[in-house]
Structures are given as structure tokens and as C-alpha cells.
Amino acid sequence: MTWEPHIFKDLHQIPREEHVFPGTPLCAGCGGLESLRLASKVLGSNVVYVNAAGCFTNLAAFPFTPLDASWLYTTMGSAPAGAQGVRDALDVLIAKGRLPKEEDVKVVVLGGDGSTYDMALSSTSGAITRKLDFYYFCYDNEAYGNTGVQLSPATPYGARTATSPCAVRHPAGTMQEKKDIFEIWRAHKPPYIATVSPRYPLDLEEKFARAAQYSGPKLFLAFAACPTGWLFDPAYTPDVAKLAVECGIWPLKEAINGEVVHTYLPKRQPVEHYLKLQGRFRHLFEPTVQTDAIAHIQERVNTYWRDVT
């Protein structure tokens, strides 16, 4: 079955109105910010963002904020719990007639992969189980970025981080496989889950627009190419994001009530094209080519697509 966008078919449909404004101290070329800006164009300004500590902490550096929405800052492990509190408060206020229903706002969690895959996982699981009506936006830069790029459960095999360097005993760098958070979320059967990439802006906008019709947990995993942590020139953020999808490493998909549909079927270029752009994989190519490690990464991608198509 091929997936068709219903709403966003042309780039000129992307709303011109901004909801995440310039002037943040986030890195030049931040792929996470790029996704958030696009998402916010659909989410609008009637939003409370509940932000787990991470790079996005820097969004709102007092006394400045780039958001025309509200922002609540939480610890790394508790953003979904914070979202529950905000949602409950809104519900109570509406029930008591102290807040008109039209003034209700969306509750949106912002979390890096460190919180999402690791520290806030139990809190997220609880929120999904309780069918909390919220959005979860994870910008996945595949490391604990804000503290200097340490290994997280989202770091893929073969990447170099501050705590998984290329070393004699593990020349490929990171030895673990990236945790499949999509499937962990899906096991909870929330109404809507999607992966997105800012280099596929129509796919991204469409998914946020679609999710809006579901009440309950709506979970998004956004590919966040990170020039600082992945060691590439910020100009290549779009190329890294594109090749992640085109090489089959970052599948674009959604799951509605647990039913998975791939929203884009890449022709699947060799993974080298993606790896070679980034300094975090340089040790796989220089000084000697680590053929086995690269083949392993390719094999994982092949297996994924064999199993889903």
C-alpha cells in the first residue's frame, strides 16, 4: 500500500506564520530545531511545551523565549509526568468552568533521546498507559548532546561518542544497537506514532496534521542531524537528514492504533553514503576501512526492510 498525503501536497502549503522564532542559542544548523519549527507550524501557538532537560533547555534562556506558546521546564525523567499535571489542571479548570473550552491548549512534551529512550521511559510508559492526551516530540540526536555528546541508548552501532570512542578493544566505537523506541511505544498501542525528518517537510507536516484528530498519546520521533555531536559542517544538515532516509537507516513511518505503514519507500543507497558524511563514523573509513563494521550496519538495514516489506 502506498501512503498518500491528504493535506500537505506542495511546499507552498507550509504555513508562513512562525511559532518558533529566531534568536535561540541552539547550534547553527541544528536538525532538532528545524523539525520543531516545522512541527510548530501545524501545532500553532495554543500549546504548553513541557521540556525535559537537554539541548532544548537552551530554547528559553531567561529572559528570552523563541516560543509564542507556554513553556514548562522539567527534569530529564519527568516531562511526561509534567504533561500529565498540566493536562489534569486544564481538564479541571474546564470542568469547573474557569477556563472556556475554546481556550484549551495542547500539551507537548519536548525531549532529547537521552530522556526519551532512557531516563523518561518509565514516565512515558505510564503516560501512554493512562491514555494521556498529549504530544511527545523526541528530537533524536542519538546522544546525550547538551552535556558533550555521550553515549545514549539511541546511539547507533559504529558511532563515536565521548564515552564510546574508537578504541583497541572496540575499534568500531559504539558496540550496542540503537534501541527501537518506536516498537516500545507501539507495544503500548497509542493512537498515533510517527517518525519524521525535516528534510521531508511535507511528510512531517502531514503527520502532525493527521495526529491532531486523535485524542490520547501522539508520539513523534524526529531525526535530528546534529553538526556538533556528529561532527559535520552545519551546511550538511540537510544532506545527512536526506541520506539517513534514502539509505534506509531512518525509515519514515507511522503507526495508527498499532498498524504500521511506511510513508516513504527509499531506493536504499549503500549506507556508506550516509556514514561518510559524518566525523562520528570517520574511524570506519580511516586509517583503514573497517569492512566488517560497515557490512554489519548494512546488514541491519537490509534485515529491517526485509522484515517490513
Binding site: 507552498h12 528559553a60 540537510p238
Partner: protein, 301 residues
């Protein structure tokens, strides 16, 4: 004891430069200390790093408030109050600035005075490497020269520090070679370390709060970050050639900052105070209508 303070933008290599100087001094038998400021530093945002060199054990810790030598990787930082480049600088302090301007031009355009050395490292690196990138080895070599360190130890320190960062031998050799050129290009100076006037202690003020019955502290303004200019972050700027633009809006969709707006005629326009110079728009443009220009130095960006 010699106190060296480095100022740069995240990604330029100020932190690594401080390590190169520290390591080189250590190799020459000195006691050395090097450390960057930690403050969730982003690529492009102001960063600082510190190196102390002495014959005896160093007891002092923390930031360097009274530097003997200040190394500035990006001249646009001088005018940025948050970077505090000139804090604690007095008539004995030697200042190195990476800039295409002459010392006199720099003095005229900024508040810099006193003992100033200037060299355009960015241009040298661009010519040599063909693309923008960190200039840590060059900064380290210049700082080492001004600090009176030997070329051999700086070469060795560059190898050690860049190897640590995962760079390969050919890249390190190219960096070493260019670093040595910079070493030669800078005239040695006599630094005048020694006791300096202490920094006056800050006057603390107790903040006043409204009583909780009136409201809690919070930002109730709209999206006010847009009043801040991020122009200083750029070393290059995207420049649109409207004749080549087909109005596809890819650049507008891809700008992480939202620095590109759409004009009434449907064509994009870059608003420079909001542009950090990531050049993502240049990369996505299908018709090469977005071109790249090196940021004019000292201009009012």
C-alpha cells in the same frame, strides 16, 4: 605564572587550542593547566578556555580574570558583551586577534587598545583546506609563539590533541604545517606576567520579587528571542540571487532558525540578524540561487 585566555565561537577550536598550548608547555617541563568554560556551549556561540603555565605547581583554579595574553579567534566577539573578551585586560596584556584587518583598523573599529597582534588565520585556513573548519592548531601555534614556547613542542602537542579528537594523520600533518607557518608569521613579544591589580568584587543586589499573591516570576512576553541578533555567529553568509530563484520554498522550509521569510512576490529573503550562517539553505537550493560569501569583517553585520 603565565595566564592565557582564549575566546572563540563553538566549533572554531578555542578549547582545543588551549589544550595544545597546555600540552606543549607540559612537554617543555612546565606545569600546565587548561580548561574550557562549561555552559552548554553551542556551535557558533561564544566560548572561552584558559591555560596557565608555570615553573612551580599551580594553585590557582577557575577562570582567568587578569590574563597576560588573550587570543581571540573571531573579532566579532570583541563587540559582544556576553563574550567579555576585554574583561581584565590592562596595558600589559597582549592581545592576538584573528582578523583580516590591520591592528590600526581594529583599534579604530573596536574598543581594543594596547598591545595588539593580528593575523588572518581564517583566510590562511580557507586557502589551505578549501573549506571552513576549526583553526585550533593555528590558534595554538600563535598562542604558543607569543607565550615563548618552542616549535617542536607545539608540533608534538598538535599531534597529541588532534589525534585525541579522532583526526587522521594526513589531516594532522596539514594542520601542523600551516600552524608552523602561523608560528613564524607572528613576531614574538615579551609577556609581562606578575601580580596585577585585583578584580574588584562584584556588588551583589538582592532581587526583589512580587508577593506570590500578585504572580510568580515568569516570562509573559511573546517570542522575544527575535530581538537578539545572531549575526556575529556567521563566518559566511548566504546571499540570494533572485534571478536564479524558482520560488520553490525549500530554503524557507529548511532554515532551522526561521531566518528566511517569504516576500509578497513569493520569493524568499534572508533576514541577516536572524541568520547564524549554517548555510543549510545553500545546500538545499535546487537552482544554486543561494550563494555563499565570506562575512565582511568588522562590518556592522
Amino acid at each position: 605564572m603565565l595566564s592565557i585566555r582564549f575566546h572563540g565561537r563553538g566549533g572554531q577550536g578555542a578549547k582545543t587550542a588551549s589544550r595544545i598550548v597546555g600540552t606543549a608547555a607540559f612537554l617543555e617541563g612546565f606545569t600546565a593547566q587548561d580548561s574550557p568554560i562549561y555552559g552548554a556551549e553551542r556551535r557558533g556561540a561564544p566560548v572561552a578556555a584558559f591555560t596557565r603555565i608555570a615553573k612551580k605547581p599551580i594553585r590557582e583554579r577557575g577562570l582567568i580574570a587578569r590574563p597576560d595574553l588573550v587570543v581571540v579567534a573571531d573579532a566579532s566577539l570583541i563587540g559582544d558583551p556576553s563574550a567579555r573578551v576585554l574583561d581584565g585586560v590592562d596595558e600589559r596584556t597582549v592581545l592576538f586577534v584573528n582578523s583580516p584587518l590591520t591592528p590600526d583598523q581594529l583599534r579604530a573599529r573596536t574598543s581594543v587598545s594596547g598591545r595588539l597582534t593580528v593575523l588572518d588565520l581564517t583566510d590562511l585556513a580557507l586557502k589551505q583546506f578549501g573549506k571552513r573548519g576549526a583553526i585550533s592548531a593555528l590558534l595554538g601555534a600563535v598562542a604558543g609563539r607569543l607565550a615563548g614556547l618552542r616549535p617542536e613542542s607545539i608540533r608534538e602537542a598538535i599531534v597529541r590533541e588532534l589525534t585525541d579528537l579522532g583526526l587522521t594523520a594526513p589531516v594532522i600533518e596539514r594542520n601542523q604545517a600551516l600552524a608552523m607557518q602561523c608560528f613564524e608569521a607572528v613576531q614574538p613579544v615579551t609577556l609581562e606576567p606578575g601580580p596585577r591589580a585585583p578584580v574588584p568584587s562584584a556588588q551583589l543586589r538582592t532581587p526583589t520579587y512580587d508577593p506570590p499573591t500578585r504572580g510568580t516570576a515568569g516570562i509573559t512576553a511573546g517570542p522575544n528571542s527575535a530581538i537578539r541578533s545572531v549575526s556575529g555567529w556567521r563566518t559566511f553568509r548566504p546571499v540570494l540571487r533572485p534571478d536564479l530563484c524558482n520560488g520553490c520554498w525549500l530554503c524557507f522550509a529548511s532554515c532551522p532558525e526561521g531566518a528566511i521569510t517569504i516576500k509578497p512576490d513569493g520569493k524568499p529573503a534572508v533576514y541577516y540578524p536572524h541568520c547564524k550562517g549554517c548555510l543549510d539553505c545553500v545546500e538545499v537550493c535546487p537552482t544554486d540561487a543561494m550563494t555563499v560569501e565570506r562575512e565582511p569583517e568588522g562590518a556592522n553585520k
